[in-house]
Amino acid sequence: MTDLLIKTDTQAVAPRKSARKIPGHWQRNESFYLGLFAVIAFLIFWEMSVVWKLVNPLFTSSPVRIIRAGHAVFADGSIYNDLSVSGIEFALGYGLAVVIGVPMGILMGWYKRLNALCEPFVNALYATPRIALMPLIIIWFGVDLSSKVAIIFLSTVFPILVNTMTGVRTIDRDFVKVARSFGASDGQLFLTVALPSSVPNLLTGLRLGLGHALIGIVVGEMYGSSAGIGYMMQTAGATFQTDRVMVGIIIIAVSGMALTQVLKMIEDRFEMWRADSRG
């Protein structure tokens, strides 16, 4: 009783370590294990339906066949070239989109006149599926690396730009008043209010852009190219190598999930202060 903190009207009671029981390992990870169970059950069902000849593996492939095909493409080394080509295309296209989209979005959100000048083009291109530009891009850039970088860039830059712009434009007026009241200059207002308050939108833009970038890679490579994961899937599909197509799909899916996870971690790092970021 002696060291109990008494709440007085001048000093709020300081927080202390919680005495609550920590839930067990299973309880904390229940949804993870449920998901894991569902996936394993699905894979077994898939494999069994092929083993029991309920479906034709030429159409459906099967987990064991996919693993075997996956092992084969990694063992003979043929996949590495495709992986590096797609990886470079992604890194260049996405990187360029971030480097150009974020500053442009900030500037367009901040300066009304610049926004008025650029908005028609941004709106038109944002509304158009960028894949529709693929024939034009092939004419301009040919079938090698640069056309894929271009399509990935175009797919990605607009979601990033538009979201960043919205973030800058929808600053809470009260925050602006506070900053002004303390005598903040335009530059300070920008750095201390506009930028931090648009971070959540910016990150949403990066995440949306990621999805568009993956579409850009696959469609771009299928449309016209000589290497890459999309190209590998295209040729495997044309020769009915369903197992290899599946390997390609899994590679794309896993990289998409991994990249999203990386962004999610960055987001958590930045959004510690948001009440709704937990749970």
Partner: protein, 272 residues
């Protein structure tokens, strides 16, 4: 109280019109405000809803430009926000991405007057002053409404302003928290030794906190009356039960009520 009182803030014939672009019309909001705030006092402003109290405070802070007349703080004409004034806004408007201590040091960061470690020390001492020691690393969403307003007040005090402006800082709090915060504010201001202008629509809050209460008329606002609050400097909430407190409350309410009735804000003048 000494006979010689230094004027901290002086407003002379302050006029302010709002321009409505859609209607292409001018709306007079302040119609010649004359008001003096003396050093060390707390002046409360009350008045009918929408009478322009907050607009006046915004003008004193330098956020809103006046259309006529002038406001001087320590003899210097106000035309923009400055280090000598600090505002406590109605919505606590704490930056959600800054921790408590980072919020408190915001003004210092902007005004860039001290070294980084000195700013942090000063912010920490203010966090303690408002009774939030132990919460300095918390984010605003982890605090209660009353605690957030304490941070808001600390943020304004951190820049060591000559004149503290408070725009209905407790309006969003529940009745109980508000009463406790009134006592707290008196203690905090007593410790910090500041001159302050406080806007409220709660008459009892005005009387409880202030040395003088300025009653604004309905829009366009003028100073309708100034009521001296003849209560001891150290006040506890019990004082609100005393007859002279009640009398003052009644008196100010009559002034506001008459004014509201005159402008059709309320239709009858049946006593409360």
């Amino acid at each position: 109280m000494g006979a010689q009182r230094n004027k901290k803030m002086e407003a002379r014939d302050v006029r302010l019109d709002f321009y409505n672009g859609r209607m292409n019309s001018e709306l007079p909001v302040l119609d010649g405000i004359d008001l003096t705030v003396y050093e060390g006092e707390l002046l409360a402003i009350v008045g009918p809803s929408g009478c322009g109290k907050s607009t006046f405070l915004g003008a004193v802070d330098g956020l809103v430009a006046v259309s006529g007349g002038e406001i001087r703080v320590d003899g210097v004409r106000v035309d923009r926000p400055g280090c000598d004034r600090a505002m406590v806004f109605q919505n606590d408007s704490l930056f959600p991405w800054r921790t408590v201590v980072e919020n408190v040091s915001y003004g210092l960061d902007i005004q860039n007057k001290l070294s980084k470690s000195a700013r942090l020390d000063r912010a920490m001492s203010l966090v303690e002053l408002v009774g939030l020691k132990g919460f300095e690393k918390h984010f605003p969403h982890e605090l209660s409404g009353g605690m957030r307003q304490r941070v808001n007040i600390a943020r304004a005090l951190a820049t060591d302003p000559e004149l503290l402006l408070l725009d209905e800082p407790f309006a969003a709090l529940d009745a109980q928290t508000r009463e406790f915060m009134q006592v707290e504010l008196l203690k905090i201001l007593g410790r910090a030794g500041k001159t302050a202008v406080f806007i409220t629509h709660q008459i009892d809050e005005a009387i409880f906190l202030a040395n003088r209460v300025a009653v604004f008329s309905a829009r366009p606002a003028k100073v309708q009356a100034i009521v001296e609050v003849d209560l001891p400097a150290h006040r506890s909430l019990d004082i609100k039960l005393e007859p002279r407190f009640r009398d003052m409350q009644e008196h100010i309410w009559r002034l506001i009520e008459a004014e509201s009735a005159r402008t059709g804000l309320i239709t009858s003048t049946v006593g409360a």
